[in-house]
Amino acid sequence: MVQLTNIRPYIIVAIFSLIYGVFRFSSTLEDSRSLGNPNYVDPAALHVRGEFVESNLGAVLNMDGSVTTRMVAERYLFVPDRITLPVGIPVRLRITSADVPHAFRVAGVRVKVVPGFVTEVHFSFSSPGEYEVQCEEFCGPGHHAMAERFIAVPKKDFLAANLSGASASAQSGVPRGSR
């Protein structure tokens, strides 16, 4: 049995291992970002260079059949303000903030959007419909009115629209008021 006089070094090792283990193996920062290469962007220059320029926002069908969507969150709206996505196809959403932190939940995934970083999440819709998503991270006086509309359409409708040559990002520019 361990005698009282011998226990101090073991306590030291145990406490140190606990603290070190928490720091070493913690994944609290990794819940909604890819583990690989961290993506840093300049929030002031999103519109002039990089993957979040205006022409690159919206949903695009990848070669392997999945869908990649790029969005920007700012005060007090998401751009593009409505996105059409397919049901049943894996969607990779990459989003960044132009100013302050925002957050929302879509398809069971919580997305935290922070300026300077690119948040990447993977999800897929299980049923069609229009999902109105509100901002959940207080961002200022307009926070209550900050919303995004995800429109989930059947797979074949989405593929028909995107494989025929019509650009998916063209849809995202249609103003809601005109519908």
Partner: protein, 264 residues
């Protein structure tokens, strides 16, 4: 066995801790990202052709835009009086009032006119004659002008609201927005309850000008708003809402925080 000798001792404990650290480093298990790994933002590279504006709000541009000399700006701004009025209040409702506008906004607009990102034949010629420091001086001057006009100089502002029944529509849009469409209240960005960088104050602006800009944003004829806020919002607003908001501002009713009560 002698307890003192069989114990590993504090030194031994430290050695074990070091061994744990070395072991897990060698294994290369995932770790918190160190700030050293952060890549620096790339050096200025040319903007993509479709960029809405060439202005990037970093430390140097913010300083350049807001550090103007208003006395020198008054001298330069004499050429602006013909259209924009002696005290920054124009006599035509379609020409914008410049009195009291924020420095960063005016500086950015002059830059957008100069680069052609905001299309106006006459303003492009005028802005091309101004350098960036000149623009900052002019912006400083206009920002310091009082936002209430002097009647003797025949300003167009304020105008009467043509349809007062639209006032409630405008009040709602200014102070509440429309959460179901994702339209934030105008006051959250244009003041007075909140401001975002380079969003112009509208409390002393002419109605025809506000309406023409909202319509231009909605049709995307004007596209110099960074990250598409105004094009998106104006496109979501119905036509009568744009008219209501424009007339409300032009009547001077948006100068103070606008209340909105249901069931009035």
């Amino acid at each position: 066995m002698d307890p003192a000798r069989s114990s590993i001792g504090v030194r031994g404990a430290v050695l074990i801790c070091i061994a744990i650290v070395v072991f897990s480093e060698l294994l290369g298990l995932p770790m918190l990202r160190r700030t050293k790994e952060r890549e620096t933002f790339p050096v200025e590279s040319p903007a993509v052709p479709g960029a809405p504006s060439l202005v990037v709000w970093n430390e140097s541009t913010i300083l350049a835009a807001s550090d103007g000399n208003p006395v020198r700006g008054q001298f330069i701004a004499r050429r602006c009086e013909t259209c924009h009025g002696i005290e920054g209040f124009s006599s035509r409702s379609s020409t914008p009032n410049l009195a009291g506008l924020g420095r960063e906004y005016v500086w950015k607009q002059l830059d957008d006119f100069r680069s052609g990102k905001r299309k106006s034949e006459i303003m492009q010629r005028i802005a091309s004659a101004l350098s960036s420091p000149d623009s900052a001086d002019v912006a400083a001057y206009f920002s310091m002008l009082p936002s209430t006009p002097d009647a003797q100089f025949n300003p167009s502002f304020p105008q009467n609201m043509q349809d007062r029944s639209l006032a409630n529509v405008a009040r709602r849009m200014l102070s509440v927005g429309d959460p179901s469409r994702g339209i934030p209240p105008c006051e959250a960005c244009h003041g007075p309850i909140g401001y975002v960088r380079a969003a112009p104050g509208l409390g002393s602006q002419n109605s025809d000008y506000v309406l023409s800009q909202l319509d231009d944003f909605a049709s995307k004829n004007r596209s110099d708003d960074i990250d598409l806020p105004m094009r998106t919002i104006a496109g979501q607003m119905h036509e009568n809402e744009r008219e209501a908001v424009a007339e409300f501002y032009g009547a001077g009713l948006g100068r103070f925080t606008v209340g909105y009560s249901i069931g009035k």
